[in-house]
Amino acid sequence: MFSNRMNILYLIVAGFLAVLPFVYDSRSMLILLSQVFIFAVLAMSYDILLGYTGIVSFGHAMFFGIGAYTVGVFMKRFEPETSYFLLAVLVTILLTAVVSYFVGLLTLRLKSHFYAMLTMAFAGLFLVLAEKWRTVTYGNDGFTFRVPDFLKDRTDFYLICLGSMVIVFILLKRFTNSPLGRVLQAIRENEQRTESLGYSVLHYKVIASVVSGVIAGIAGILYAVSLRFVNTSVFTMDITLDALLMTIIGGVGTLVGAIIGAGIIEFSHHWLTELAKVHWIFERWIIFFGIIYILAVMFFPMGIVGSLQKLKFRKKKKTSIPVESEAVSQGDS
């Protein structure tokens, strides 16, 4: 696993992040970073769909929301104890797996935009369900809940989020580099050809959908726990768009890109709002936020990681032999 320079770099960064709370005691920085980790998990799960299987989903919030509500309802209805929390995690995994399986079966036969819109419809139905099932969800206002003790301390929770992100990253790295992961990339490139190589495409897509759904559910759990509050916003398009943006800004099909994307979006958001207090120009900081997206596309057309990889590659092989490494698919492994 730790065979090359890239992996050593990852290790250093992870190590740095792990000791950070003990040397730099800023709560809001911890919270911000926890937020980054949570969204990084969500974005990585999205990358499995977008970057590795080549499908755009507009309904990813569905799984995120299921995770968030499951843990919320469990903590509210029962006791905020570790055992119930673990039960909630288990139920989330089950629910997201089942839902992503069936939604996958129903939707994955559809072509690009139609698939995207159908997933959006399903996510929309979950949103309405959360709105209408008021006895459990308290409607769109949502509800607050308590969390088990081990999740209360911000530093501990920070470490848990970091740990989750690292584990998800390692698992997904393995997953995407496995023979199965390679077939997913083949599907992204040419679905029909994959089929005639003897791979049953739908099975693979459903597997991708389930893996991605379950991980999104876990991100949802962490998110709800971080707020100790859940409302219908977890099912909205905004969540899906966030995941989408983070994945794209970072570079699709790279996994690290998703993490970097989450960091960039959360931090530039943070800094821009801070600037808003400093100078009136930034009062409308959202404009600058939008400009960041636009500039990102112009200067990093393949996302930060994707474009950097290409650059690195160019330097290495400036030759007239038209040989190109798998910049798009192989990622950084």
Binding site: M120, A121, G290, A296
Partner: protein
């Protein structure tokens, strides 16, 4: 009976309004295959500029013209600077147009302030006629008429000129149309401009319909427009009209007969259509 007629009429009118909102997107997304998330921004700008011109000149008609022009200018600028570099790449389109969307809707607040703005119907279009139990709202009749006019005009443009063909060909293989002597960039810009103009028109007409315009109207209605384009079948203009009317009618009837599901009406409709007709109502298979 009266109820049925009322529901159908209002559903039809709402459908036509939705069609007006979606018509531009049918060109930009359906035909040119650009996932334009900034579409909502274009019609919010149409609404604001149109209503502003209307209230300052007092002429609804000039307001409409103003809105369309604003939309077209924005369309050209958008196409030139934002869309051109990302044709054919959905992933980049999503990111860059979402960025533009943020810029557009925040700029609205910079120019016109964060408050909602009321939009009134001109006198000659306000009020309603009543025949027995049937209420016919004048402004809705107007919307239906404009909807049909736009439909016919665009249909003419697509069927009687080569533009529709050239755009579709350009989307499939840009190099090849150019090799055939077509300045596809100019054609794309033109079609984008028309699409943006129609979006602006839709936004402008929405104002008096609901009586108010606000900066966030863009995203809200853009989703509706996307729904219409997709369930109509990508790029089919007839499909868009039908889908829009279907959305209007289903909203109207569900709100009356199954109010509990009214919130989910659009999503249910979309799910049902796509599960049973994965290519959309008027989409061609494959």
């Amino acid at each position: 009976m009266d109820v049925l007629i009322n529901l159908s009429l209002n559903g039809l009118a709402t459908g036509m309004l939705i069609f007006l909102l979606a018509a531009g997107l049918t060109l930009i997304f359906g035909l040119m295959d650009v996932l334009n998330f900034a579409h909502g921004g274009l019609f919010a700008w149409g609404a604001y500029s149109g209503i502003w011109i209307y209230t300052s000149t007092g002429s609804f008609f000039i307001g409409i013209i103003g809105a369309i022009l604003t939309g077209m200018i924005l369309g050209i600028v958008t196409e030139r600077w934002i869309i051109k570099p990302v044709y054919g790449n959905h992933v980049q389109q999503i990111l860059i147009t979402l960025g533009l969307m943020l810029v557009l809707s925040e700029m609205l607040k910079v120019v016109w302030g964060p408050n909602q703005i009321s939009a009134v119907t001109p006198d000659y279009l306000s009020g309603s006629w009543e025949f027995g139990g049937i209420i016919i709202i004048k402004y809705r009749v107007f919307i239906i008429a404009v909807g049909f006019a736009v439909f016919l005009a665009v249909q003419y443009l697509l069927k009687k000129t080569k533009i529709g063909l050239v755009v579709r060909a350009g989307v499939m293989n840009k190099e090849m149309v150019q090799s055939l002597g077509v300045n596809i960039q100019r054609v794309f810009m033109f079609v984008f401009m028309i699409g943006a103009g129609m979006a602006a028109l839709g936004g402008m007409l929405l104002g008096p319909y609901s009586g108010v315009i606000y900066a966030d109207m863009g995203m809200e209605f853009a989703i509706l427009a996307f729904i219409v384009v997709v369930i109509g079948g990508m790029g089919s203009f007839t499909g868009s009209v039908m889908a829009a009317i279907l959305v209007g009618l289903s909203g109207s009837f569900m709100a009356y007969y199954v109010p509990d599901l009214a919130l989910a009406a659009n999503m249910l409709l979309m799910a049902v259509v796509l599960i049973f007709r994965p290519q959309g109502l008027f989409g061609t298979k494959g």
